[in-house]
Symmetry: C2
Amino acid sequence: MPHEAQKAIARQSLLLRSLPDQHVETLLSHAIWRQYDRGETIFLQEETAKAVHVVLAGWVKLFRMTPTGSEAVVSVFKRGDSFGEAVALRNVPYPVSAEAVSTCEVMHIPSPILISLMKEDPEIGISILASTFTHLHSLVAQLEQLKAQTGAQRVAEFLLNLCDEVDGRCDVSLPYDKMLIAGRLGMKPESLSRAFSRLKTVGVKIDRSHAEISDINALRRYVEDEPANLR
Amino acid sequence: MPHEAQKAIARQSLLLRSLPDQHVETLLSHAIWRQYDRGETIFLQEETAKAVHVVLAGWVKLFRMTPTGSEAVVSVFKRGDSFGEAVALRNVPYPVSAEAVSTCEVMHIPSPILISLMKEDPEIGISILASTFTHLHSLVAQLEQLKAQTGAQRVAEFLLNLCDEVDGRCDVSLPYDKMLIAGRLGMKPESLSRAFSRLKTVGVKIDRSHAEISDINALRRYVEDEPANLR
DNA sequence: GTGTTGACTTGACAATAGTCATGTTGCGGC
DNA sequence: GCCGCAACATGACTATTGTCAAGTCAACAC
């Protein structure tokens, strides 16, 4: 059972934050807390789901291995994100594998608990649908990106999502290493390197894990511009 | 309200087939039936969802328009498929637009009906999650395809999904026009043409909307082989 | 029939991204 | 400190795909 500080993070997650307190307490009291080291597997593709997972700290990636051995990163989750909802409730095999990409803490809510609670209160179903929909939406956005944008544009959009400011300049630090960023954006690390150097022309400087964006709007224009204007 | 023959198709859909009869009847009695012409819009991105949609006949595509005007096809649905579940239950805007790609019949189940029924029986929530999960899964599969396979490999896999046989030879007819196939597979019509001619070397012949696969296993090997063996 | 239209194919060329090879750098272990 | 490793960068080359242009073909209205 998780500690109070851990529970507090879980309560803020999309999955739990709109549920009535008493249900959240029931779920949390049955939850299992675990720490994973970088590179450790959380579950494997084809395994049957027994729990819903909530990231409390660190980063987790979902990916698929292709028959030829290359991996396709499907999503990367951070503190407060939940995953595996739709799978856990249906006792079907995971379509993806999950791995810790940094040291991280994950809370597991056993699916039987979730199911029995759902029978009491249909509102829980809506909550689960809410987080599932968020994933659905982000996959759709990724598909659009991959189909309609060049590598450099995807990188630019990735950087924009890291900025809090609306315009002007902005400093961000890359949340995880460049190999993973490349995977997440559907390219090879070499291509990511080249995309970064291409972005120099629109005022982006990269140093290690630190990125400096001199003009957010210029970057935004780069993402949305016609291919002809990209050079 | 739909006719009996239309209801029969709806009852076989993933969304409804595992529900108790009485609930299905309630839903169907409130459903709206409509026919759409090729090219007609069913809903637009950013519109708020008011219903869940079930395809009874024909084909429907979901797509996103990018700021630059190009479109990214997200999925293509056929008879018996449902879409818009997760969105309808949450009163949020659609992340995609839907359009009829052939003359087609669609049944709309108003979301308030679904919600009220869900409060009576949480099993409905599970059914909705089931079809939502199917979409999630297919998006993940598409992402993997786009990230890890060449155009010709994606086309080969598309053809394999159309075959019923397990091995040997097989004839299939392309379900919709090649422009849409190209969009669905994330490429331009020209690239699809070239992918088809490339597949001649592994025993695939295309004539109009008719495809002839001389050896299913050879095609399967082509999809899974190392890039080095693809030429 | 004729003409028009849109789907499809093909070729030439440009742009983008992957591969392979090589080199640099930062970091943890010792 | 030094070593060794893995992440990252860069260059040269190749493969894949998009773009533009031209042409074929079938369907359909007239």
